[in-house]
Symmetry: C2
DNA sequence: GTCTATACCCAGATAGAC
DNA sequence: GTCTATCTGGGTATAGAC
């Protein structure tokens, strides 16, 4: 593990710049509809040079998914440390939809739309993309366990995830950000109810 | 309006056959990822002849959306006449997810995924595709009005639509049909609750 | 109405000079 | 590491014979 001579100029930076731009473009325009040329021009690279950093388009997708995994993990850890109670932490998740309201209205949920697209393409990376959902799912389930719902924590997590996805889909289809607020209110009420009521044996 | 000589052999049939196949392929593979060659070969037509029936790909999309509008209207009218109460009619809507479970698991909701894709493409037909949602939205709202919720019938309709979309998205992402059943149970309970309880002034 | 042939463009991907 | 030039394939779309 001696310092190798593999410390290229700023290829690491270039690579992450490409990944960052690709992440954004895949979200805004979709994976298939984003071309190498789109990404290259956004990063100010020639198409030829592009292939020095990524051999195939699938490689870029892989890097983008990994980047999203990393960012998501960081966000969840942040909520974990910032918010004192499980209910407050889940509330952070719900509020995320309000914070990202304008982008959701324009492009839907980054995770949901990517999974849907890769599913239609029968793309090999589809299972990997679904792991982004799993990240949220498991994190939410842990919160519900701490809230006193060990038996159906996963069902509650999936329920909340589904509600969020539906909100994003319709807010996007109808170009209606107000709908997000409207539904978030209901979700917060739902969260309040289950976090204050005594968990019944087979609740929810 | 005298009978014109525009009654070509079976071009009407060919056209509707193309539209039917395109409808299916757009659902299964997505709009952009479906090529003329895909459709033509599925209909057993040469690519050249294809253009006799549709000038551009957008024209096919238009025809597909109109076909879906037509079919949806027919389905909703069917539920309207078959089911005696508004609650029973909404229940038909909810059960549709169970009936289409396998396809939803594989390809998501036909309406939701089309709207999401067209949104990313910034395709001119996106608003037209959203009208498919509007069809369900208005129909559901009418049922909730009849159920005694004139004030927030539309909010209830949107809520139910969103729940359905979320269920479809996650069932697809996790390839999990059981999740549909699980959530449909909850939706039926929700429907039962609001259809039997006395509507409060600002309920739900 | 149906076909073959083909124009045209843009995508992903490669070669090789600098 | 970056560039230009280029290959190859597939996509939409057209022309014109039958």
């Amino acid at each position: 593990m001696i310092a190798e001579h593999t410390a290229p100029n700023d290829s690491g930076n270039t690579r992450s710049r490409i990944t960052e731009i690709a992440d954004q473009l895949f979200y805004e325009r979709g994976y298939e509809h984003t071309s190498f040329a789109d990404i290259a021009s956004a990063v100010n690279l020639s198409r030829g040079n592009f292939y020095y950093h990524f051999k195939t388009k699938d490689d870029i997708l892989d890097a983008v998914i990994e980047r999203r995994m990393h960012k998501t993990r960081g966000m969840l850890e942040g909520w974990e440390t910032e918010a004192p109670t499980p209910a407050a932490r889940v509330s952070r998740f719900i509020h995320m939809m309000v914070m990202n309201g304008p982008k959701i209205r324009q492009h839907g949920c980054p995770v949901g739309t990517l999974c849907a697209e890769l599913s239609k393409l029968e793309h090999p990376a589809q299972p990997k993309a679904s792991l982004l959902f799993t990240l949220f799912r498991d994190w939410l389930a842990r919160q519900f366990v701490q809230m006193g719902y060990p038996r159906n924590a996963d069902a509650l997590a999936m329920h909340l995830l589904a509600r969020s996805q539906g909100i994003a889909t319709l807010a996007n289809a109808f170009n209606d950000e107000g709908f997000i607020h409207q539904e978030v209110e209901q979700l917060l009420k739902w969260l309040h109810d289950i976090s204050t009521s005594t968990p019944a044996t087979g609740e929810c």
